[in-house]
Subunit: 337 residues, 2 copies
């Protein structure tokens, strides 16, 4: 198992020798102890730099240190992983905050069938200090699994109390969306969801129905059928007398507005379309999508913070991130007369 490529990497002993001190002196310097004289410390640092040495993470870990990496296991199909701008924003948003605490992101995209095995392995072999849970499902098997492993985890989105969660303030967003549509005269709207098993989807369903009733709006739910020959066509055919569609994901919403024109349905003249997520893609399609923006970078920052505190033994409370905002573009308009 040893590297076949010749000479070893420098160790703390090499640095100690180069600086003419003991290994513990070097260790002290690199662990922020203040008991080493400035001159000695300086000499040690120079020796370390000259040898390109930094404390070996594995050595550190073996002697009790904690906090290197958090795990993100995505079990969407590669296809939907690729098409969903959410993930790339999340990833980009995570790495900055992680870097400031000296951690990194361990990422994998895998089929759901491998999910349990990956969590189990990454945790037991101590590859990661904790997991960031996304796409929580109702009755999510990861919850009991991670509990049984005594693993550290932070959820992104609504989660059972077992783990602290970072959630978006969807309630105020909902108000904004319904007021916008009602103000345009819409009375019959539909929510379209592709993944009814997701926890946030269910929660959103209930909240939407309640808020709609208050305003005298009729809301129904339409299912997205990815396996249809033309999912957009099927959806449009099934819409009945609905005048506005709220799509759960941007991936879906963009496909609907792009393709509706091909199918002879004018957006927003005949049908308004609104996306529950927003990104640059919403600005790319024509008509541009009216969409609900989300402070994903804020969420990522909070998630890292929660993880950081948990790893240090705290039990931080969940956080709700405010700042969702409806970005009105061209895909919503007055109800057809």
């Amino acid at each position: 198992m040893s590297a076949s490529t010749g000479n070893r990497r420098p160790t703390i002993a090499a640095v100690a020798q180069a600086a003419g001190v003991s290994v513990s002196a070097v260790s002290h310097v690199f662990n922020g102890r203040t008991n080493i004289s400035p001159e000695t410390a300086q000499r040690i640092r120079e020796a370390a730099d000259a040898l390109n040495w930094r404390p070996n993470l594995a050595g550190r870990r073996i002697s009790g240190a904690v906090g290197n990496s958090i795990g993100l296991v995505v079990t969407q199909s590669e296809e939907s992983f690729r098409r969903d701008p959410f993930f790339i924003r999340l990833i980009a948003g995570l790495t900055g905050p992680l870097a400031t605490v000296g951690w990194s992101l361990s990422l994998t995209v895998a089929p759901e069938a491998d999910e349990a095995q990956i969590y189990r392995q990454w945790w037991t072999e101590q590859r990661v200090d904790g997991f960031l849970l996304v796409d929580l499902r109702t009755k999510d098997p990861r919850i009991p699994l991670l509990r049984s492993l005594s693993a550290t985890a932070v959820a992104l989105g609504p989660a059972p109390a077992a783990f602290p969660a970072v959630t978006l303030d969807d309630d105020s967003a909902l108000t904004e969306v319904l007021d916008h549509l009602a103000g345009l005269g819409h009375r019959r709207i539909a929510r379209v969801t592709s993944a009814p098993g997701l926890a946030h989807s269910r929660k959103r369903d209930r909240a939407l129905s309640a808020a709609a009733r208050e305003r005298g709006l009729q809301v129904k739910t339409l299912a997205w059928n990815e396996n249809a020959a033309d999912p957009v066509e099927e959806l449009l055919a099934a819409r009945g007398n609905v005048t506005a569609l709220i799509l759960d994901s941007e991936a879906l919403a963009t496909r609907v507005v792009s393709h509706a024109q091909d199918l002879g349905v004018r957006v927003p003249a005949e049908l308004s379309v609104l996306s529950w997520e927003d990104s640059w893609v919403s600005e790319l399609v024509r008509p541009r999508l009216t969409a609900l923006s989300a402070p994903i970078e804020d969420s990522a920052r909070h998630a890292v913070d929660l993880m950081h505190r948990m790893v240090r033994g705290e039990k931080p409370p969940s956080v709700v991130v405010p700042g969702r905002r409806l970005v009105v573009r061209e895909s919503t308009g007055p109800v057809p007369t």
Copy 2:
């Protein structure tokens, strides 16, 4: 530095005790030795499962094991990282092959100013076993840096001989692109690039000019100015009598076709647009983009394979991945008469 949360994780000793054997017996089983009797091995495995134990990666590493993780450091701005479907495809393509060898991907997105520091740190602290280099620039400072660190690296795209590289077969792609445009009657075309400093950009420039000359085509280069009030408008204004545009990146190309219509330039009636990269985004815009597809997943697989072999001490040769193909959609058409 020790975890404050109570009882420790199980160790190899606990498993050995539970199975009634010595620690080395356990170690042997988990390292594929064949010298343990099937019954004993079975008992050991069961004990390990019961305790949720797997060999601690840090322990393994400290005793000479190698191969946990490869590093991917992206120094695009977060904005262009997010807008470029290439990265998400790359990431998704990497994790599968990595998982099959038991590795994971350590990812970060950081400003270019932090680049050297990150590479240096990740390598010296032995966080990763090697780096995957993307977006190589001409005179890329990472090359001498990684050489001086004796770091392992594999390049994606043209690279100096210092490191093995995985490159796409751009030559045949180029032929296909020029034949397509020439066949439509185009004689004056322009290549648009946003990042002239990238190595692949420069290489492509030379190849394109040469191939164009052979066919009697005029090629000029236009620069994308992201800082302009309206980059698309500026680009269109600067195009002169050019009848076809080849955009280096899909992010740019999609913006051009989407926005050209707003600006009254009809694509492809007045101007043909072709993208050097392809993804689902090219199908989303109207007109759909004619684009050059790339076998990114194949590249990812080769990159992992090269890394895997290098870490084991081999010196594998570079590979050229075939399979680029021009996907003709709606954004290219006959030259205007």
